[in-house]
Symmetry: C2
């Protein structure tokens, strides 16, 4: 494959994702396209989540909104973790105030066999949106997005969101053949969804394992890591930076970093300098301001951002982000001010 156009390749985000430091720390925010932006709320009025993720013109517009308003260094595809499952034909919906709800939860091998195979055709509307986005974004990289096998499995088994994932773990411990069949299928789904996005023009990928942080390290290694490793191995030939993230994953960082990634996302609980000790020297870190800090007075926001940047200097390179998604009540002006501060700070600090 040909390399990306050089403005893109030399963008602060992609340089940092490749382990190179630049004139400033790049910054983007998980859930930057979302309810904190009034233009997003306007766009979603009367439009269900999965519909918004399925219409190319809405995907493009919503993905672009934070790039225009905040000046972030990367866009991330507006989508949802369960979107590829829906596109493949799994009967599910995203219920406002609840989350993904699955019509027929998976209990056995027959249930696994009922999940259709992922095909690039089923997400043709996403590829179309990505092509539109990369044309519009020009030198700003687009990050592709997928949910990790464990997180997808938890929704399919529980039938929806769960606090304790007891059914998921019961199946994981008690029915190894069902577990393997399901996780292999979901690994293929995540890899296929990411591949489709990169082929259409995405410059990096992030795999979200939202619920992996509920596993002990031993369980993560035994029941999850092999499948996550498969996802990252399948996208490796595409030669784009691979980012891995989940919340409450402090104890899992070493194992998650071993899945084959260039960038480890770190939640706000783990100071970045500690995270660096757990991952590999060649890896970059991404994170990790507590999203709730954005409700503090500006001098606190600024000081805590400085602390994050200082800790991030211990890593090979650093992509600034929150330690989890933007909270819906966040003031977008604070996000914009933070982006400006990150961009200006690092230049000033390059003494």
């Amino acid at each position: 494959m040909t390399g990306p156009p050089s403005a893109l390749a030399e963008s602060a985000f992609l340089r940092a994702a490749r382990g190179l430091r630049g004139p400033h720390v790049p910054v983007w925010f998980m859930r930057q396209a979302g309810r904190s932006l009034p233009e997003y709320r306007a766009m979603r009025t009367g439009v269900a989540m999965l519909e918004a993720c399925s219409r190319p013109e809405l995907i493009v517009e919503i993905t672009m909104q934070p790039v225009r308003r905040l000046g972030v260094d990367a866009a991330i595809l507006f989508s949802d973790i369960v979107l590829p499952l829906k596109a493949m034909g799994v009967d599910l919906d995203i219920v406002p105030g609840v989350g993904p709800v699955i019509a027929t939860p998976i209990e056995d091998l027959a249930g696994v066999a009922r999940i259709p195979d992922f095909t690039a055709e089923s997400v043709g509307f996403v590829s179309e949106a990505v092509r539109g986005l990369t044309a519009e974004l020009k030198g700003t990289p687009l990050i592709g997005f997928a949910g990790a096998p464990y997180t997808l499995a938890s929704y399919l088994i529980e039938g929806g969101p769960s606090k304790d994932h007891a059914k998921t773990k019961a199946l994981m411990y008690g029915a190894p053949d069902v577990w393997d069949g399901l996780m292999q299928r979901l690994a293929a789904t995540a890899a296929g969804f990411l591949t489709a996005q990169v082929r259409a023009g995405a410059s990096a990928v992030q795999l979200f394992d939202s619920w992996a942080g509920g596993l002990s390290p031993a369980d993560y290694r035994d029941y999850v890591l092999p499948y996550t490793t498969r996802v990252f191995a399948e996208v490796a030939p595409l030669e784009v930076p691979r980012i891995h993230f989940g919340v409450a994953t402090g104890e899992l960082l070493a194992d998650m970093a071993a899945a084959g990634v260039e960038v480890m996302g770190v939640d706000w609980r783990v100071p970045l300098d500690r995270a660096v000790q757990r991952i590999r020297p060649a890896q970059a870190v991404q994170g990790n301001l507590d999203p709730a800090v954005l409700f503090a007075p500006w001098d606190v926001v600024q000081q805590k951002a400085v602390d994050v940047i200082a800790a991030g200097k211990r890593a090979r390179s650093h992509i600034f982000n929150l330690g989890h998604g933007v909270l819906p009540a966040t003031d977008p002006d604070v996000l914009a001010r933070l982006v400006d501060f990150i961009h200006s700070h690092e230049v000033a600090a390059a003494e």
Copy 2:
């Protein structure tokens, strides 16, 4: 004060809590008195949570149920984190399916001033229950129970449960005088509630900081640790073992251990041998089987319990527990079998 009767003092639980190893690892379960037991569900039919925590005969009966059925090495007072606030006169209720709901959330110094002082008289019904319990329990220790200042503050500020504690943190960062006033009052509350329980006969205390795990280590040290330290310092003269616990606190263990405790509770995310490296050599550990493991086939439960015991051997001493509360759907027969296994295992392993 006189020491406890010797059968009690030499109980496996109190020996382990003092750092002494015995013939077997003692075991109890967080939320052992609760919805997993049919006799508990029967007792609670038509009885609201705060009513159940306020009637001495119900407190005694519910606290005793798991001791009788499971053969655990310690009882823990059946109560709720917000019970002392209710007893002091704060207008709150526990709404089924929601959690604690506060009528008038705290926003400012006037709100703090409206919180009545804790008095031992206000929880006289708890002291009465503790006296009844210690008479009935004889050689089985009773653990006293209180919610930590941060967790209580989060309910009072948010008005109820919260996923992100954004209001709590906004006040913590933005209004230091309100924060200090509130946390001092809640430290006095927790210390007073624990003191009342010990004076009535409890042999140990556990401070639950349910939500501390949502704080970065720096924030924990700046905004929470001074108040938790005050709680433990105020109960220190009572000379009972002090246990400290919160979920998702892996990054906070060193700081939480520094609050002045004999036993650190560890959630299931942190292998006990790692936890030992973060706490102090003189401290015991408590934990930490994933509560969801109890839904696995028995051979998995047994193997994972063995793993916990093996990791716990790296500590000065070990109290077996789950890494969080018993899940309501747990089969009590599995809990009972696990207690028997823990008791028999360690004797067999004493080669």
